[in-house]
Amino acid sequence: MTADSRKTSQFEIVRREDFSDVTYLLEIRHPLMARAARPGQFVIVMEHEHGERIPLTLADFDRDRGTVTLVVQAVGKTTKEMQERCQVGTSLYALVGPMGIPSHIGLARKVVCVGGGLGVAPVYPQARAYKQSGAYVIGVIGFRSKELMFWEDKFRAVCDEFIVCTDDGSEGIKGLVTAGIEQAIAHHSDIDELVAIGPPIMMKFCAETTRPHGIKTLVSMNPVMVDGTGMCGGCRVRVGDQVKFACVDGPDFDGHAVDFDDLMARLQRFRASETDALERWQEACRVRADAEAQREPPPLIGTRPAADR
């Protein structure tokens, strides 16, 4: 028996959408997971047998369709390879979850949900859950520029108020999401909670913005993970004076207690290997593309335009 016979094809990709040339959505069939998933949880994916286990947040789940949705940003070897290979009808080698403690959708009456860039996707289920629980939801989303925006309508539909920020001012407020947060705080003195998901540096500044106002702030930690079950300790983060494993104790933590500098330093742990892997893969793609171009059959009739390479 080989590893092949273990290979399941049960994680079929049923829909794909490309938001930009680096961001794409995958909707995957997994009825059991669609039923179990809660806002704030994540999955671990292996695209193929030699692949890496990478964590991705559940951006949506549809119990009727029996699917879960991931939104992925192509940043390195694995996510770029997935961008190329994950097409509708193909399957993932492994998909496991939902992992992590679901976000606590408590009795907060007024909440701000902040998504920066890709973070818009993972914060969406939380915004929706708050809305369903009867809270007044203020959505703040930030992108570098208007062209990169996605899920604006979807997000807006679960918000009572909606603030868009772009770095270049091509849409909404010109500035970072912190500008949007400040605006929300200025208009509402009774905000109970703020949830921020995005790059660590963004979450750090969100926490700094709310700190003087004493608004409870939750952030979603995204350290490097392997198993996602509390077995390796690679995902440890510093929260206050404690060390927590993000995969089983989180991923949501109190933004005012988290040590973001520690998180950012630990995200660099495998930088050298990651760069190496990406370069090798890109080189392999180039070689393959060249080989394929050469293998093209000669035209039957000599009318085909010469090398369009």
Binding site: R53, T78, T229, M231, C232, V248, D262, F270, A277
Partner: protein, 500 residues
């Protein structure tokens, strides 16, 4: 009748096992020990006195009938020997390799006062390997009892329980969170000690018994233990989730880039095959000068893995002495041969980092042994003004693990104050219909003890499900080479009704 022998008439020397040369093996992941040849096995089997009082049997946590299987080896009835072993131990090729025999079966062998003990583990491995090589298997037709059993975790505890329940006619599903089955055997213990093919071969045998393995399934989060019994219609559940949550010491410098748990190192290397990076995608970035903290099996494995990944020096840092080191004697011996530098009576106090958050050293202090503590071991106390620095670029923690919190977070299972699942004598938990065993109940232990727990729970589960003795008729074997019944003992497994 076994032949009459005395300690003077048997071969005096324990038959050595061929090993790869230390200098060569420290650069590859091939198995260190090569196993006995037929002649070697026969010679070693001659050393057994077939003691009527069988002390060795009581030394084995699952009480393998050791003299009986060794006798069969001397009679060249290897298939028979295999049947005798598999009556109680499903995974001889694995236990023969990884059991700490010196504290179990071999430690109490009659001849150990005068001679080196009979190499029970090596003989067991010989038989297990032969079974794999020859493809001995027979799939008994067991009439389905209509009862369904779920097993959580595919480590040795789960596998042993699954096998017993399948042989009793239950429909058994094993749920595993990783993408491959095997537990610590797969992700922890490296190939040079326990090759993955051996584990896969043994797991294949379980599949042939009709057991289904569902990988990529996180029980507790995808569905709960309670749901298994209610919505999902299982009649009984066994939990063998292991105790994998790694400990750190809480000294300064632990979040530096080159600091990781042995579990992370071993999982990246073994299961995710980071040793074959970039052919496999998972990175590891091994150190050149590595300090491993701890001296158990996990520490030995971590050190020897680092050597094989190209480290120039590997230090073992342990606060007690070699005598207290929990690793198997053979592993410490192998590690020494391969050039690991042991620093006994040494305890780390701080990990030093450079400007880029990489490890540049480990500050340690010397210890001495003081009064015995609760465990009876003499407690190490620090020697004043004994601090010194080690020049290392990677620090690996192998100082033990704790209970995994996921099932506690998601079920009403009663846990003890350290987070382990509370189970009674028969391994029943606080939820009716749910049993638990292995490391998640006892804390980190051994492979064979985990298997023993799996079987003990299975016995209680069979009783609970009312699977009692019935008339058993086995169909003739479907595969197998010599027409003999294989792996199934009528007395042991006569719970199932079988139709002819």
């Amino acid at each position: 009748m076994p032949p009459k022998k005395t300690i003077r008439t048997i071969p005096q020397e324990r038959t050595p096992m061929q090993e790869q040369d230390p200098d060569i093996r420290a650069t590859n992941f091939a198995e260190v020990t090569c196993g006995y040849t037929l002649e070697e096995a026969l010679r070693e089997a001659e050393r057994c006195l077939f003691c009527p009082d069988e002390p060795c049997v009581r030394g084995c946590p699952v009480e393998i009938d050791i003299p009986a299987f060794i006798l069969k080896i001397t009679e060249k009835n290897f298939h028979g020997a295999y049947e005798t072993i598999t009556d109680t131990n499903l995974l001889p090729a694995i236990c023969g390799r990884v059991c700490p025999q010196e504290t179990q079966c071999e430690g109490v062998c009659t001849i150990v006062d005068t001679l080196e003990p009979v190499a029970i583990g090596r003989l067991e491995r010989f038989v297990g390997d032969m079974a794999i090589a020859e493809g001995w298997e027979s799939v008994p037709y067991v009439e389905p009892s209509g009862l369904r059993v779920a097993i959580v975790g595919s480590g040795p505890a789960g596998m042993a329980c699954a096998a017993d329940m399948a042989k009793a006619g239950c429909e058994v599903t094993v749920y595993e969170v990783f993408h491959e089955a095997g537990g610590v055997l797969k992700y922890g213990i490296p190939d040079f000690r326990l090759p993955n093919e051996v584990i896969d071969a043994e797991i294949d045998k379980l599949r042939q018994l009709g057991i289904t393995f569902e990988c990529n399934t996180l029980v507790g989060r995808l569905f709960t233990v309670e749901q298994l019994l209610t919505e999902m219609g299982y009649h009984a559940v066994f939990i063998g989730t292991g105790a994998g949550y790694p400990s750190f010491m809480g000294i300064p410098g632990e979040s530096l880039a080159g600091v990781l748990s042995a579990n992370e190192l071993l999982t990246r290397c073994n299961l995710m095959r980071a040793r074959d990076f970039p052919d496999f995608d998972t990175p590891l970035q091994p150190g050149k000068r590595v300090a491993v903290i701890g001296a158990g099996n996990t520490a030995m494995d971590a050190m020897r893995v680092c050597l094989r990944l190209g480290a120039e020096t590997v230090y073992c840092v342990y606060r007690r002495t070699r005598i207290e080191a929990p690793a198997r004697a053979e592993e410490i011996h192998h590690a020494e041969e391969e050039g690991i530098e042991f620093h006994w009576l040494t305890s780390p106090v701080e990990i030093l980092g450079d400007d880029d958050s990489n490890v540049r050293g480990l500050r340690c202090q010397s210890m001495e042994l003081g009064e015995p503590d609760e465990s009876g071991r003499r407690r190490p106390v620090s020697v004043p003004d004994s601090e010194f620095e080690m020049d290392v670029d990677m620090v690996v923690y192998a100082i033990g693990t704790n209970a995994n919190p996921i099932l506690g977070q998601t079920s009403s299972l009663r846990l003890n104050d350290r987070g382990y699942i509370v189970a009674d004598e028969s391994l029943a938990t606080s939820i009716a219909g749910v049993w638990a065993g292995g490391d998640i109940v006892t804390g980190a232990a051994t492979v064979i003890e985990a298997m023993g727990a799996g079987r003990k729970a299975a016995a209680a589960m069979k009783e609970y499900l009312g699977l009692r003795d019935t008339n058993v008729v086995y169909l003739p074997e479907r595969s197998g080479s010599d027409g003999k019944r294989f792996g199934i003992d009528l007395h042991e497994h006569d719970y199932a009704r079988v139709s002819v």
